[in-house]
Amino acid sequence: MKKTAFAAVAIVATALSSTAFAACEWKPERPVTLIVPWGAGGTTDLNSRQMATLLQQHFGVPFNVVNRTGGNGVTGHTAISQSRPDGYTIGAASVEINTMHWFGLTPLTYTDITPIALINQPAASVLVAKDSEFQTIGQILDHARANPGELTASGTSLGGIWHLALAGMLNAEGLDPQAIRWVPSQGSASALQELLAGGVDMVTPSLDEGKALIDAGEVRAVSYMSDKPSEFAPDVPLTATELESGWTLAAYTTISGPADLPEEITCSYEAAIQDIVASPEWAAFRQSLGAPVVWGDAAQLSALMTSYDESLGGTIKAIGMAKEQ
């Protein structure tokens, strides 16, 4: 009996290597919890809720979104990592899984979760008020080089991903990462408010977060930290071509599972999410957010997390915020 079971496993294993679909038969039979480490109404939350709705249609069982906020994302990511790896708890892990351990906030790293799929990757931008003297990213960097500490920027908390976007760019261009002073804010919305009120010289959130104000002519997008032009603002110059270092930075949102999620469950979710991301409903939803459809499978996501961890770690060390855990 034991021998036949072993043989069956062996057959499955060979089948897996030839056609991935053979082992992707797992299906949830009761409600699934989708943990979101950030608050209701934010970008991560909106994408996760839409994904949950479509997963629900796909599998025919309820997918409940639970916002486990707190601790700059530590609480939610820890909850995802430590859930039972039975496929009934998955989560929307985000780029902070690559930063928070460098700050010494938690021992948790990207190796403690199982990547399933990449669903969003918004690149940072440099936005200035409509009456700002700066027209190009080059002018801003020259000014910062000549007058370190004079200019201010905002976009998120100290050490948040948009702060790393700015500090990393300064570092890559050979400037002191503090040559433009970071003014912490509670999020992109309050940073944009500061920019409008004349409180800071620039903000560096993702381009889509500034979309309403760019369309309104209240702020100007000086630069887009990507190597591909944005769909809704294709004229915004790219840092990849404008800057010598070719600096780019994007945050990301994933669907990930707990540590040690079995391969069968992972690939079943991966296939389902791939179908959903290719669907017209998802395309229409992304369009409404002003963001392109993004897709990366588990292997690509895993590689992405590994490379982000190294590069963001380098930036965090360069700005002197790294702490031993």
Binding site: N67, S157, A189, S288
Partner: protein, 505 residues
């Protein structure tokens, strides 16, 4: 014309009726806030058309803010933070045998405040939004400082006890990662404390649990001293409520615009509006000594302004995509998903939708009078329930509400700890309301102060260098100075303290 047709759509009317009922339910349950009601609504809005989706959010918020008063009056436990400012007044009136009257007064003035809010919104949205964009961290710092000063005017207790309470609240607001340097404070290594103590947990702990402890300790007839026992007939309650509301139309008319403006400002919503108008009302009143002991005036002023603020918060959201409070933060996401990107040209681009939205806002406030009335009648039946059944029920609901804040058992421990603290404060005669204000505004105050200091590189002068910040700063310092002067004068010559006439805005 088109707008009228789309407003009379039965599906839309049904949405409003259902959502006002839903809003009353969530709002009346202690600890379930308007924000949570809207967050729970989001998945349903996926299946609605844009107007219906926004209408659902608007109708739910308006009623939830009103319904927070129901449990405030009947159980002395505010259902939402916006009701905390005047809970002592409404509970005292209810306790004196007129729970339905005070709730109907509340309902009528809330609806009136909401309607005034919509009118201001439809007339002046672009202008108000432009005004709001002038508020940087300097202005917000002074605004938070002014808001905290309200604690002194609101509380009926002696100044030392009021300040003690306020500082307890501010100390609680210190818990968590600070926004300026990212340093965890007083977290004792618990990740769950990194985001600090949520003000909803604080409210449930301070009000609900404290009230339950009090009821449990007062042995003879559990909670007799706390809950109203007499309920007046419905017809008289409605008639009296209407009469009282009409007699105080001036209060509604002066407080609602203040509520709208506070709602418009970033980061300040209906809770701050209620505090500020209550403090103003007390300051301007001929009978300030009655406040806190069951006075209608404060309830009317604060009750109408918190509903007006609901409308105000939509202004910066619609025009600049910047949320005025946590509800509109969620609403912006829904707007974008429905292809209604916020922007100054939203009136030209999607004028029909926006004006239908205002129409729906108006309609929600009218329909709220009926559904809210039903909620009052149903809720006041609760009082007939034996206390020994009601109290555990409230405890259960409070703990569920607490759990829902972070979806974690940890928040239940926070609530229990704060409940014990609140009960000790009551034993010591320290009022609870200022502590709540400290929790609500403490973080805003600190964040804006630190942000300003980082921007100015440690200079104090920039706090006064901008037009609005100078006016707000000078006004705040003047009010503090006059309060100190008054205090010194009472010490030097004991006797009736002279009244000062200035007001904070």
């Amino acid at each position: 014309m088109d707008i009228l047709i789309s407003l009379s759509d039965p599906a839309l009317l049904l949405t409003i009726v259902v959502c006002t009922l839903y809003g009353s339910l969530i709002g009346a349950l202690p600890g379930l806030s308007a924000t949570m009601a809207v967050a729970l609504l989001v998945p349903f809005t996926f299946y609605m058309d844009p107007v219906q989706a926004i209408t659902a959010i608007v109708a739910t918020t308006s009623t939830a803010i009103f319904a927070g008063d129901i449990s405030g009056a009947l159980l002395r436990i505010p259902g939402t933070p916006a009701s905390a400012a005047y809970v002592a007044d409404s509970a005292t009136i209810a306790h004196n045998g007129r729970p339905r009257t005070v709730l109907f007064v509340d309902l009528f003035t809330s609806a009136a405040g909401g309607i005034i809010g919509v009118i201001v919104l439809s007339l002046a949205t672009p202008m108000l939004a432009r005004f709001a964009t002038n508020f940087s961290s300097y202005e917000m710092f002074w605004l938070a400082a002014l808001g905290l000063s309200c604690a002194v005017f609101v509380a009926g207790a002696s100044p030392p006890k009021t300040f003690a309470s306020l500082f307890i609240g501010l100390a609680i607001a210190c818990v968590g990662i600070d926004v300026a340097v990212g340093m965890p404070r007083y977290t004792f290594g618990f990740y769950d404390l990194f985001d600090g103590v949520d003000f909803i947990s604080a409210m449930i702990g301070f009000f609900a649990l404290t009230e339950l402890f009090r009821a449990a300790v007062e042995r003879d007839g559990i909670g007799k001293a706390v809950l109203p026992t007499v309920v007046e007939p419905v017809r008289r309650a409605i008639a009296d409520g209407w009469k009282i509301s009409c007699a105080h139309w001036k209060h509604v008319l002066r407080s609602s615009p203040v509520g709208v403006i506070i709602g418009v400002l970033p980061g300040a919503g209906s809770d701050v509006a209620a505090w500020v108008t209550y403090a103003l009302s007390r300051k301007l009143s001929k009978t300030p000594e009655k406040y806190g002991n069951g006075h209608m005036e404060g309830i009317i002023d604060a009750g109408s302004s918190n509903n007006a603020a609901v409308a105000g918060a939509w202004t910066p959201a619609l025009v600049f995509g910047i949320p005025g409070d946590s509800v509109t933060a969620i609403a912006i996401g829904v707007l974008m998903m429905k292809g209604l990107a916020p922007g100054p040209d939203i009136f030209e681009r999607s004028g029909d939708v926006v004006y239908t939205l205002f129409g729906a806002f108006l309609l929600s406030n009218v329909i709220m009078v009926f559904t809210g009335g039903i909620a009052i009648l149903l809720a006041s039946q609760l009082l007939r329930m034996p206390r020994r059944l009601l109290m555990p029920l409230i405890l259960g609901l409070s703990l569920i509400g607490g759990f829902a804040v972070m979806n974690s058992v940890f928040s239940i421990w926070i609530i229990i700890a704060l409940g014990v603290l609140g009960y000790l404060m009551i034993l010591g005669g320290i009022p609870i309301a200022p502590a709540i204000l400290g929790v609500v505004l403490g973080k805003t105050l600190e964040q804006n102060f630190m942000t300003s200091m980082i921007k100015s590189q440690g200079e104090f002068l920039p706090f006064f260098s901008r037009d609005i910040s100078m006016v707000l700063g000078v006004a705040t310092i003047l009010i503090w100075g006059l309060c100190l002067l008054q205090g010194v004068r009472t010490i030097i010559s004991p006797g009736p303290a002279s009244k000062n006439e200035e007001n904070p805005t």
